[in-house]
Amino acid sequence: MAVNIRIQAEPFDTAGETAALTRGRVDIGAVVAFTGLCRDEGGRLMALELEHYPGMAEAEIGRIADEAQARWPLLGLTVIHRFGRIVPGEEIVLVLTASAHRQAAFEAASFLMDYLKTHAPFWKREHLKDGTAGAWIEAKEADDRAAERWR
Protein backbone atom coordinates (compact mmCIF):
# COMPACT_ATOMS: atom_id res chain seq x y z
CA MET A 1 0.00 0.00 0.00
CA ALA A 2 1.15 3.53 -0.78
CA VAL A 3 2.06 5.24 2.50
CA ASN A 4 3.49 8.73 2.29
CA ILE A 5 4.51 10.44 5.53
CA ARG A 6 6.29 13.79 5.47
CA ILE A 7 7.32 16.31 8.11
CA GLN A 8 8.20 19.61 6.47
CA ALA A 9 8.37 23.37 6.94
CA GLU A 10 7.07 24.12 3.45
CA PRO A 11 3.38 24.48 2.55
CA PHE A 12 1.72 21.58 0.72
CA ASP A 13 -0.81 21.32 -2.09
CA THR A 14 -3.84 19.24 -1.10
CA ALA A 15 -5.13 18.80 -4.66
CA GLY A 16 -1.68 17.79 -5.93
CA GLU A 17 -1.22 15.30 -3.08
CA THR A 18 -4.65 13.77 -3.79
CA ALA A 19 -3.81 13.44 -7.48
CA ALA A 20 -0.49 11.77 -6.60
CA LEU A 21 -2.24 9.29 -4.31
CA THR A 22 -4.76 8.19 -6.95
CA ARG A 23 -2.67 8.47 -10.12
CA GLY A 24 -2.81 5.31 -12.23
CA ARG A 25 -5.16 3.58 -9.75
CA VAL A 26 -8.52 2.15 -10.75
CA ASP A 27 -9.29 0.29 -7.51
CA ILE A 28 -9.80 3.35 -5.29
CA GLY A 29 -13.43 4.34 -4.83
CA ALA A 30 -13.09 6.89 -2.04
CA VAL A 31 -10.54 9.47 -0.92
CA VAL A 32 -11.10 11.50 2.24
CA ALA A 33 -8.96 14.62 2.69
CA PHE A 34 -8.65 16.44 6.00
CA THR A 35 -6.73 19.71 6.03
CA GLY A 36 -6.04 21.44 9.35
CA LEU A 37 -5.60 25.21 9.01
CA CYS A 38 -4.17 27.91 11.22
CA ARG A 39 -6.99 30.25 12.37
CA ASP A 40 -6.51 33.78 13.70
CA GLU A 41 -8.45 33.26 16.98
CA GLY A 42 -10.75 36.22 16.39
CA GLY A 43 -8.00 38.45 15.03
CA ARG A 44 -5.69 37.96 18.05
CA LEU A 45 -3.14 35.60 16.48
CA MET A 46 -0.27 36.70 14.25
CA ALA A 47 1.32 33.27 13.80
CA LEU A 48 1.72 29.82 15.25
CA GLU A 49 5.13 28.35 15.94
CA LEU A 50 5.23 24.56 15.73
CA GLU A 51 8.06 22.73 17.43
CA HIS A 52 8.56 19.02 16.78
CA TYR A 53 10.78 16.12 17.78
CA PRO A 54 12.67 15.14 14.60
CA GLY A 55 12.95 11.39 14.23
CA MET A 56 10.21 10.58 16.71
CA ALA A 57 7.61 12.58 14.75
CA GLU A 58 8.16 10.38 11.68
CA ALA A 59 8.34 7.20 13.79
CA GLU A 60 5.17 7.93 15.78
CA ILE A 61 3.13 8.94 12.72
CA GLY A 62 4.38 5.72 11.07
CA ARG A 63 3.07 3.69 14.03
CA ILE A 64 -0.30 5.51 13.89
CA ALA A 65 -0.47 4.82 10.12
CA ASP A 66 0.32 1.12 10.74
CA GLU A 67 -2.56 0.97 13.24
CA ALA A 68 -4.94 2.61 10.73
CA GLN A 69 -3.95 0.07 8.07
CA ALA A 70 -4.51 -2.80 10.50
CA ARG A 71 -8.01 -1.54 11.31
CA TRP A 72 -9.35 -0.49 7.90
CA PRO A 73 -8.91 -1.81 4.33
CA LEU A 74 -6.99 1.19 3.05
CA LEU A 75 -5.51 1.44 -0.44
CA GLY A 76 -3.40 4.53 0.20
CA LEU A 77 -2.53 6.97 2.95
CA THR A 78 -0.78 10.34 3.09
CA VAL A 79 0.10 12.34 6.20
CA ILE A 80 1.93 15.66 5.94
CA HIS A 81 2.60 17.72 9.08
CA ARG A 82 4.30 21.10 8.94
CA PHE A 83 6.57 22.67 11.53
CA GLY A 84 8.01 26.14 12.02
CA ARG A 85 6.14 29.43 11.67
CA ILE A 86 2.63 29.21 10.21
CA VAL A 87 0.33 32.22 9.71
CA PRO A 88 -3.50 32.27 9.78
CA GLY A 89 -5.00 30.87 6.61
CA GLU A 90 -2.09 28.51 5.98
CA GLU A 91 -2.38 24.76 6.28
CA ILE A 92 -0.81 22.83 9.18
CA VAL A 93 -1.64 19.19 8.56
CA LEU A 94 -2.97 16.99 5.76
CA VAL A 95 -4.44 13.51 6.09
CA LEU A 96 -5.52 11.60 2.98
CA THR A 97 -7.03 8.15 3.17
CA ALA A 98 -7.99 6.06 0.14
CA SER A 99 -10.17 2.97 0.14
CA ALA A 100 -12.58 1.07 -2.09
CA HIS A 101 -15.55 2.45 -0.14
CA ARG A 102 -16.18 5.65 1.78
CA GLN A 103 -16.74 4.36 5.31
CA ALA A 104 -13.20 3.02 5.78
CA ALA A 105 -11.71 6.22 4.35
CA PHE A 106 -13.85 8.49 6.59
CA GLU A 107 -13.19 6.49 9.76
CA ALA A 108 -9.47 6.06 9.13
CA ALA A 109 -9.02 9.80 8.49
CA SER A 110 -10.85 10.61 11.72
CA PHE A 111 -8.77 8.08 13.68
CA LEU A 112 -5.52 9.40 12.20
CA MET A 113 -6.33 13.00 13.16
CA ASP A 114 -7.41 12.06 16.71
CA TYR A 115 -4.15 10.17 17.22
CA LEU A 116 -1.96 12.78 15.51
CA LYS A 117 -3.27 15.44 17.88
CA THR A 118 -2.62 13.42 21.03
CA HIS A 119 0.40 11.24 20.12
CA ALA A 120 2.53 12.91 17.42
CA PRO A 121 5.30 14.96 19.10
CA PHE A 122 4.40 18.50 18.00
CA TRP A 123 3.83 21.55 20.19
CA LYS A 124 2.17 24.82 19.23
CA ARG A 125 2.96 28.24 20.58
CA GLU A 126 1.05 31.41 19.80
CA HIS A 127 2.59 34.67 18.62
CA LEU A 128 0.09 37.48 19.13
CA LYS A 129 -0.58 40.61 17.08
CA ASP A 130 0.23 42.83 20.04
CA GLY A 131 3.85 41.66 19.68
CA THR A 132 3.95 39.30 22.64
CA ALA A 133 5.31 35.81 22.26
CA GLY A 134 2.27 34.10 23.66
CA ALA A 135 1.95 30.92 25.64
CA TRP A 136 2.39 27.31 24.61
CA ILE A 137 -1.04 25.99 23.74
CA GLU A 138 -2.39 23.63 26.37
CA ALA A 139 -3.52 20.15 25.43
CA LYS A 140 -7.30 19.79 25.42
CA GLU A 141 -9.10 17.11 27.36
CA ALA A 142 -11.60 16.90 24.48
CA ASP A 143 -8.76 15.75 22.20
CA ASP A 144 -7.80 13.00 24.69
CA ARG A 145 -11.43 11.87 24.81
CA ALA A 146 -11.61 11.86 21.00
CA ALA A 147 -8.57 9.54 20.86
CA GLU A 148 -9.93 7.34 23.68
CA ARG A 149 -13.07 6.44 21.73
CA TRP A 150 -11.00 4.35 19.29
CA ARG A 151 -9.77 1.99 22.01
Binding site: G36, Y53, M56, K117, H119
Partner: protein
Amino acid sequence: MKLVYFAWVRERVGKTDEQVALPEGIETVADLVRWLKGRGEEYEYAFENEGIVRAAVDHVHVKPEARIAGAHEIAFFPPMTGG
Protein backbone atom coordinates in the same frame (compact mmCIF):
# COMPACT_ATOMS: atom_id res chain seq x y z
CA MET B 1 22.74 8.62 27.95
CA LYS B 2 21.32 11.53 26.01
CA LEU B 3 18.41 13.54 27.37
CA VAL B 4 16.39 15.86 25.10
CA TYR B 5 13.75 18.42 26.04
CA PHE B 6 10.98 20.09 24.07
CA ALA B 7 8.63 23.11 24.27
CA TRP B 8 8.19 24.54 27.78
CA VAL B 9 10.12 21.69 29.37
CA ARG B 10 13.11 22.75 27.22
CA GLU B 11 12.63 26.39 28.22
CA ARG B 12 12.38 25.60 31.91
CA VAL B 13 15.42 23.30 31.92
CA GLY B 14 17.28 25.89 29.84
CA LYS B 15 18.80 23.49 27.31
CA THR B 16 17.75 21.43 24.32
CA ASP B 17 19.76 18.32 25.23
CA GLU B 18 22.52 16.98 27.44
CA GLN B 19 24.59 13.87 28.09
CA VAL B 20 24.27 12.42 31.58
CA ALA B 21 26.03 9.62 33.45
CA LEU B 22 23.45 8.10 35.76
CA PRO B 23 24.31 6.84 39.23
CA GLU B 24 23.43 3.32 40.31
CA GLY B 25 19.82 2.68 41.17
CA ILE B 26 18.19 4.81 38.46
CA GLU B 27 16.12 2.11 36.77
CA THR B 28 12.92 3.74 35.54
CA VAL B 29 11.77 7.00 33.96
CA ALA B 30 10.27 7.97 37.33
CA ASP B 31 13.66 7.36 39.02
CA LEU B 32 15.31 9.55 36.38
CA VAL B 33 12.82 12.39 36.95
CA ARG B 34 13.42 12.19 40.71
CA TRP B 35 17.19 12.34 40.14
CA LEU B 36 16.88 15.27 37.70
CA LYS B 37 14.74 17.24 40.18
CA GLY B 38 17.59 17.00 42.66
CA ARG B 39 20.04 18.61 40.21
CA GLY B 40 18.75 22.16 40.46
CA GLU B 41 15.78 24.47 40.61
CA GLU B 42 15.42 24.60 36.80
CA TYR B 43 14.68 20.85 36.82
CA GLU B 44 12.50 21.23 39.90
CA TYR B 45 10.49 23.84 37.96
CA ALA B 46 10.28 21.79 34.74
CA PHE B 47 9.00 18.71 36.56
CA GLU B 48 7.01 20.47 39.31
CA ASN B 49 3.67 18.96 38.30
CA GLU B 50 4.36 15.24 38.28
CA GLY B 51 2.24 13.46 35.75
CA ILE B 52 2.11 16.41 33.33
CA VAL B 53 5.49 15.98 31.62
CA ARG B 54 5.54 13.08 29.15
CA ALA B 55 8.49 10.86 28.28
CA ALA B 56 9.74 8.88 25.31
CA VAL B 57 12.53 6.31 25.28
CA ASP B 58 14.26 6.00 21.90
CA HIS B 59 11.35 7.70 20.09
CA VAL B 60 8.58 5.62 21.74
CA HIS B 61 6.08 7.00 24.28
CA VAL B 62 6.52 5.41 27.71
CA LYS B 63 4.94 5.54 31.16
CA PRO B 64 6.87 6.61 34.29
CA GLU B 65 7.41 2.98 35.35
CA ALA B 66 9.19 2.14 32.07
CA ARG B 67 12.72 0.80 32.54
CA ILE B 68 15.53 2.79 30.95
CA ALA B 69 18.40 0.26 30.85
CA GLY B 70 20.00 0.28 27.40
CA ALA B 71 18.23 3.46 26.27
CA HIS B 72 20.15 5.80 23.96
CA GLU B 73 17.89 8.84 24.10
CA ILE B 74 15.22 9.85 26.59
CA ALA B 75 12.95 12.79 25.81
CA PHE B 76 10.79 14.89 28.10
CA PHE B 77 8.02 17.13 26.78
CA PRO B 78 4.57 18.56 27.54
CA PRO B 79 1.34 16.89 26.33
CA MET B 80 1.30 17.16 22.55
CA THR B 81 -0.65 19.87 20.71
CA GLY B 82 -0.05 19.16 17.03
CA GLY B 83 -2.54 18.42 14.32
